[in-house]
């Protein structure tokens, strides 16, 4: 509404970029999930042809196990050539800017950049500077779109009475997803809270005021706050747990004993409030803090499944980024 006052010029981003789920239409989400299914079903040799010898750069300014490996495996399974550049052991250590790093990768032939960065919004800068399709693999406290998409795929596969074949504004109607813990610092929470309501889910955010400001309500329709974890769980078909991001607390001091008492998802709490809920966690988990062993490794847990869904979703995102949509003709 204020663009009339100020006129921030809007930038064009290369087609196939995924910088945030906030502006991802439901129909695009449906296509990405359908592509993930189609790619998943291909045999290994056929997969290798989909992005054969296409060049993908993985640019990681922050440590990562799951996301990096998963993007890398997804790219390699589709036959792409990948190169990993991390902030350590590269010219980034010498002070090279993100823009110049991106231009260098482009000059070396990269056709797509997967970026993990500690600064919110960095993928926008990289996409503007290079004109290449950029996949946001997590930026600061902002978003982690591929994580939200793989979480969605996990929910569709596991939550009963959901028609996973039909992705639209009502697919998740009647499903309440509780996201609990350090919402403030979590890009996973933001992406899920922005993505799942688009498909009709109700997202209940749960956490103490220091980690969950009231502003969170303004993320959009379908997002609510319930600070009492037990009350939230009673309504949940899905409980998504988050770790406390010590590296981003910036001086904030929490009483961990109190936190555990209020927000830990342990066996007793799960059994009492949501015995059938699907338990998810984007990782890394801090066992004994936000989640206990029995829950993490128990029958409700979809945590390892999430990781597996990650590869399929990222294959679809990479193919989309490189403009390959007609897999059948590519592999023929």
């Amino acid at each position: 509404m204020h663009s009339g006052h100020g006129a921030t010029k809007s930038f064009g981003y290369a087609a196939g970029s995924l910088l945030a789920v906030v502006d991802l239409p439901v129909i695009e989400t449906a296509t990405i999930l359908a592509d993930a299914d189609r790619l998943d079903r291909l045999d290994d040799d056929s997969k290798l042809k989909v992005l054969a010898r296409r060049r993908i750069a993985l640019l990681f300014y922050e440590s990562s196990t799951r996301t990096r490996t998963s993007f890398e495996l997804a790219a390699k399974q589709l036959g792409a050539i990948t190169t990993l550049v991390s902030d350590k052991s590269s010219s980034i250590e010498k002070g090279e800017s993100l823009k110049d790093t991106g231009l260098t990768l482009r000059a070396l032939g990269a056709e797509c950049i997967v970026l993990r960065h500690l600064s919110s919004g960095a993928p926008y800068l990289l996409a503007r500077s290079t004109g290449l399709p950029v996949l946001n693999a997590g930026d600061g406290m902002h978003e982690h779109p591929s994580q939200a998409l793989l979480d969605l795929r996990t929910i569709l596969a596991r939550v009963p009475n959901v028609n996973a074949k039909r992705i639209d504004e009502k697919t998740l109607a009647g499903v309440t997803v509780v996201i609990a813990g350090d919402i403030l610092h979590s890009r996973v929470a933001r992406s899920n809270a922005l993505l799942l309501p688009k498909l009709g889910a109700r997202v209940l955010l749960c956490g103490p005021k220091e980690l969950l400001p009231e502003y969170a309500l303004e993320l959009g329709q379908g997002v609510e706050i319930e600070r009492d974890f037990d009350k939230a769980l009673k309504q949940a078909q899905v409980a998504m747990m988050l770790r406390i991001q010590r590296e981003r607390l910036a001086g904030l001091e929490l009483n961990l004993d109190d936190y555990i008492a209020r927000y830990q998802l342990n066996y007793v709490r799960l059994a009492a409030n949501a015995p059938h809920a699907l338990v998810m966690h984007p990782g890394p988990m801090i066992r004994g803090l936000e989640i206990d062993d029995e829950v993490a490794d128990g029958p409700n847990s979809a945590i390892e499944e999430q990781v597996r869904h990650g590869v399929a979703v990222r294959m679809a995102l990479l193919a989309r980024a490189l403009g390959v949509v007609d897999f059948e003709s590519v592999i023929a």
Partner: protein
């Protein structure tokens, strides 16, 4: 003969209460005559400006600009910054001290004000309130004032410690110049790059709370009250770039209590909100940050009801490579000298019905009064011939590619402007002509 005649214009000179058709004769850098239309028809001048359809007003006074010289002339220089000022209708600018090195000495101040720097409009400066703007030990206010200081500030940073701010207010109060405070409690804003609120939450950026600004304003007002009571002085606090409704309310109350407080508002704070950050546009990043719509409206209310003394741009040029960084890493600040009038007329006059005379007063007479300038901010006979002639009805779009500044970090590239400067004269010389 260097005389200039400005004919057929509508003179708006709030300091002398004039708003009607007047012709002006400028001679030897001063206003020589202000007469009813036709009365100067026999006057001869080297140059005659036909101001038909235009407003003729005192050249604007900006009490808050960053000219980056010495030390950062890749961003701006005194010559280019004052050229941008002239293009915006400003004939007086006050340079902030956060240069490299910090302007905290008489030698530094004299160097900055030296004609060799090439300022094309009148340049004043506020040296640092504390050595190195470190907030610890106040500078030599007496010597600096003798060398031309029009106030003291650590702009870019607050004078945070109570005792240091108290000393600064007492010392400046004794001389009769303001302490100009960048009101930010930096203990609450570490790692923050925008306003705290729903937009910051969505963007995953740490936000500066309203309390960081309001807390310092409140503390400074308390110090003023205390100094009036204990020291029997009447110090002058000038609050820079007010951006929050809370701080505005505190200033309004302090003024009602009779304390000597003045304040400024920047055009971006009455024009934009934090929504303008959009996709992490670093040209919408400054400190204090763009705030919420309620704050923006409170700035406008304060401008209209007289709580705000002046519009000041906080012109803060930065090079492209500095702004083309991650949002949190990019430096704070935007350029503003060339867009101030166009935004003020569009938002305040057209959008909120502010009369021309009040708008011009906020950009000339009142800022001149805030720093006690003699003979500027008015076009009374005998004043300096600092004049702006502008077409108040011209609608145009700002094109940052045409800027006089060395830098292009404006969020208003392509934005609609109302009112366009046709001529700017500094002490009788045409320094800008469109």
């Amino acid at each position: 003969m260097s005389d200039v005649l400005i004919l057929n214009g509508r003179l708006v000179d709030p300091a002398s209460g004039v708003d009607s058709q007047r012709d002006l004769l400028l001679r030897s850098g001063r206003v020589a005559a202000v007469e009813a239309p036709g009365a100067l028809k026999d006057a001869k001048a080297k140059k005659t400006i036909d101001a038909s359809g235009m407003i003729v007003a005192p050249g604007f006074v900006d009490v808050h600009v960053h000219l980056r010289e010495p030390g950062q002339t890749y961003k701006e220089s005194i010559a280019t910054g004052t050229a941008a000022a002239a293009a915006g209708g400003f004939t007086t600018v006050v340079a902030m001290p956060n240069t490299v090195p910090v302007n905290d000495s008489v030698a530094g101040l004299e160097w900055m004000l030296d004609a060799a720097r090439g300022a094309c409009v009148k340049l004043f400066a506020m040296p640092a309130a504390t050595f190195g703007s470190k907030g610890e030990e106040i500078t030599d206010f007496h010597e600096l004032a003798r060398a031309g200081a029009v106030g003291f500030t650590d702009d870019g940073k607050p004078v945070l410690h109570d005792d240091v701010m108290r000393q600064a207010l007492v010392a400046a109060g004794g001389i009769g110049v303001p302490v100009s405070q960048h009101a930010e409690d930096t203990r609450l804003t570490g790692g923050c790059s925008m306003n705290a609120g729903p937009v910051a939450f969505r963007l995953g950026l740490r936000g500066m709370p309203v309390a960081a600004e309001a807390g310092i304003v409140e503390r400074d007002i308390r110090l003023l009250r205390d100094i009036e009571r204990v020291d029997r002085l009447r110090p002058h606090l000038h609050v820079q770039h007010v951006s929050t409704a809370k701080a505005m309310d505190l200033i309004r109350a302090a003024k009602a209590d009779g304390l000597h407080v003045t304040c400024e508002v920047a055009p971006h704070h009455f024009t934009l909100t934090d929504n303008a950050i959009g996709d992490y546009n670093t040209n919408a990043k400054m400190n204090p940050p763009l705030r919420a719509e309620t704050d923006r409206l409170a700035m406008i209310a304060g401008l209209i009801d007289g709580t705000v003394d002046c519009i000041a741009t906080d012109h803060a040029p930065h090079a492209l490579f500095e702004k083309e960084q991650e949002f949190e890493r990019a430096p704070n600040g935007i350029t503003g000298l060339e867009t101030a009038l166009g935004l003020a007329l569009r938002v305040l006059h057209k959008g909120h019905g502010m009369p021309f005379s009040q708008l011009i007063e906020l950009m000339s007479a009142q800022p001149a009064r805030a720093i006690s300038l003699e003979g500027r901010g008015t076009l009374k006979v005998g004043s300096f011939a600092d004049v702006v002639v502008f077409d108040p009805a011209a609608e145009w779009a700002y094109d940052v590619a045409k800027t006089r500044s060395k830098s292009r970090n404006s969020p208003f590239d392509g934005a609609p402007m109302l009112g366009r400067v046709a001529f700017t004269l500094s002490e009788g010389r045409v320094v800008f002509q469109n």
